[in-house]
Symmetry: C2
Subunit: 405 residues, 2 copies
Amino acid sequence: MTLQKQNLPEMFPVPGFRLGTAAAGIKRPDRTDLVIMALAEGARCAAVFTRNAFCAAPVTVAREYLAQGQPSYFVINTGNANAGTGEQGIRDARLCCEGLAQHAGCSSAAVLPFSTGVIGEPLPVEKICAALPTALASLDENGWAAAADGILTTDTVPKGASRQIRIGDEIITVTGIAKGSGMIRPAMATMLAFIATDACIEPGALQQCLSAAVEKSFNRITVDGDTSTNDACVLVATATSPSPVLQPGGTGYKAFCEAITGVCIELAQAIIRDGEGATRFVTVAVEGGASSAECLQVAYTIAHSPLVKTALFAGDPNWGRILAAVGRAGLPDLEIEVVAIYLDDVCIVREGARASDYTEAAGQQVMARDELAIRVELGRGSCCEVVWTCDLSYDYVRINAEYRT
Amino acid sequence: MTLQKQNLPEMFPVPGFRLGTAAAGIKRPDRTDLVIMALAEGARCAAVFTRNAFCAAPVTVAREYLAQGQPSYFVINTGNANAGTGEQGIRDARLCCEGLAQHAGCSSAAVLPFSTGVIGEPLPVEKICAALPTALASLDENGWAAAADGILTTDTVPKGASRQIRIGDEIITVTGIAKGSGMIRPAMATMLAFIATDACIEPGALQQCLSAAVEKSFNRITVDGDTSTNDACVLVATATSPSPVLQPGGTGYKAFCEAITGVCIELAQAIIRDGEGATRFVTVAVEGGASSAECLQVAYTIAHSPLVKTALFAGDPNWGRILAAVGRAGLPDLEIEVVAIYLDDVCIVREGARASDYTEAAGQQVMARDELAIRVELGRGSCCEVVWTCDLSYDYVRINAEYRT
């Protein structure tokens, strides 16, 4: 069994944001592996990068260039993560930016580099630079679908989300693409997401909006708890819309933030649905916590437990494993007597023990679904948090054991 | 491929410590599933229990009784963990102790209960009590091998360790048994260990010795990071040896502690070797840390990473996954430029990038071994820590997905 994959939805173009692709032959011939994005003058850019201390060379360079001013271009390659490559990797990332800058007539620092693929191999800079003119020539506001394909590595489907909202008299567009099969491929240097909007918004507010959206989306998914060296999520506001500048607390700002968060959640969930070997999409909701932090602690302990994940794969309502995960999450003074656990609407644990009205048949009925929720009530406060995950299947082991062989 | 299992070594009897077994028919007929241990008068007992907040009823009762005084008996059943059973579970655990107390002519509180097996089913107290006379009749100082078999659940081999040391003119014996396929079966309420010695030692010193030994052995192993609701490790000193009382800092104390730690490490490693689906026994050593805590943080991040574990299963020297795990372990101000990583004696990462003299062939040669070490040098201090783990195989998923079905 595999989860139903979702097709790319209608991708509304974002005025002032163009995308181009090319086949540079980085790892395989005739595969689109180079994507360029061009930002209209006056566009603002916000970004969130991996917290992994071993961040890849392009992450280091992108952070540095972004601190120097607003970018005009992104250059993204697949097939090679340029991670674990030391000083040479930094030089190579700069060379790619320089190559694009020469063709485009901008400064190197106006080009942000992104790489995804195998760790530890030198970046084939010459191949990338040779393909830049083709990619530049194909720049188009309607290039989203081609770019969504172009940034994939081992993903099985392209991932995109797009929506339009009305703010005052104007329609604002938010469109984004992502790649990654979960946080599950540090060796494949996993997650990249690029989102653009034509809204007008100052850089500080844009960064605030993106950081909040990432916290509720990409930071709420887990396949196996591994964090990539290359993760990056970028949000561009081209300011081409005639609508007024969005201000925190002002008209339309809340709706705008909700649209950004909505697109990020759609992309994040698409990554879980395409998780390696995933056969079930699982929402883990923890309610009644004294703080968000402790809700997340419990949610991730459940979502990372190989025993819970194999039970999900088997469709086995093994409530003992969920209960044990809650118990070892490390919450101080947890009173187990008030904890309740649900599978969708079926109560499996009440007052810290198996619910008296629970039947195995009812549990199995929920576990047979390919989308289901594990809900935990801690009974010690009013905070709640949600994370999304998938199960642990034979295919996960096969994919990750066979990778590289 | 499976790891070579080790046979039970010669098990030296411990004067003053007898073991008896019976088949109570708890889960299956004709299987030894009840073990009783009888402690000579004057014996001292130390214990370490699970930190899981959802601890099982027998753990709650054993803790309570132990606080009231030194025990005379242990009653251990397999096939049922008496966990997630609420108030009824507490009553049932007490009833088993009471049953044994009546036969043995001691107080209920002098009997400590231990259970292991499926979570959430009511304990069949009557079956257990009915089999107590048989178990009592078989009490024998040479009962270690039968007891090692009797405490198993899904383990594939019995696990024991035994050694004798000379302290002054006397020979002191330390003998122990354990059960568990790693920390990997909270639903099977995993790990139990019982160790006995004929040494004379005060309870406080005995507890100190056990806590230190557990910290360096059972608390240094992981199969999948899950912690059982029933974990318990008990150390009994029968004081039957004519040797003088061991005192911290006094003659023989250090040798005694080393013997206890040695037996605990042997038992802990036997659990990893019998880990579900384990095909490789892996030592993760982290050196050069600023504190033991941060060394353990890095070691467990590596040992718990599904990507590292599947690479180990595949025999793939995927150093990028190990490097990424070190990077995301959360060490503040980690300087990646000084980190080195070794597979046995082969340096794979130096100065934060792939070692220039590393060859895939050399890495593969190490990964082909069924016992190997991953060694990380952090270069930020003088602390070091070691944990032991195994790989993540198809069989792990199969065993944990098929369990209960």
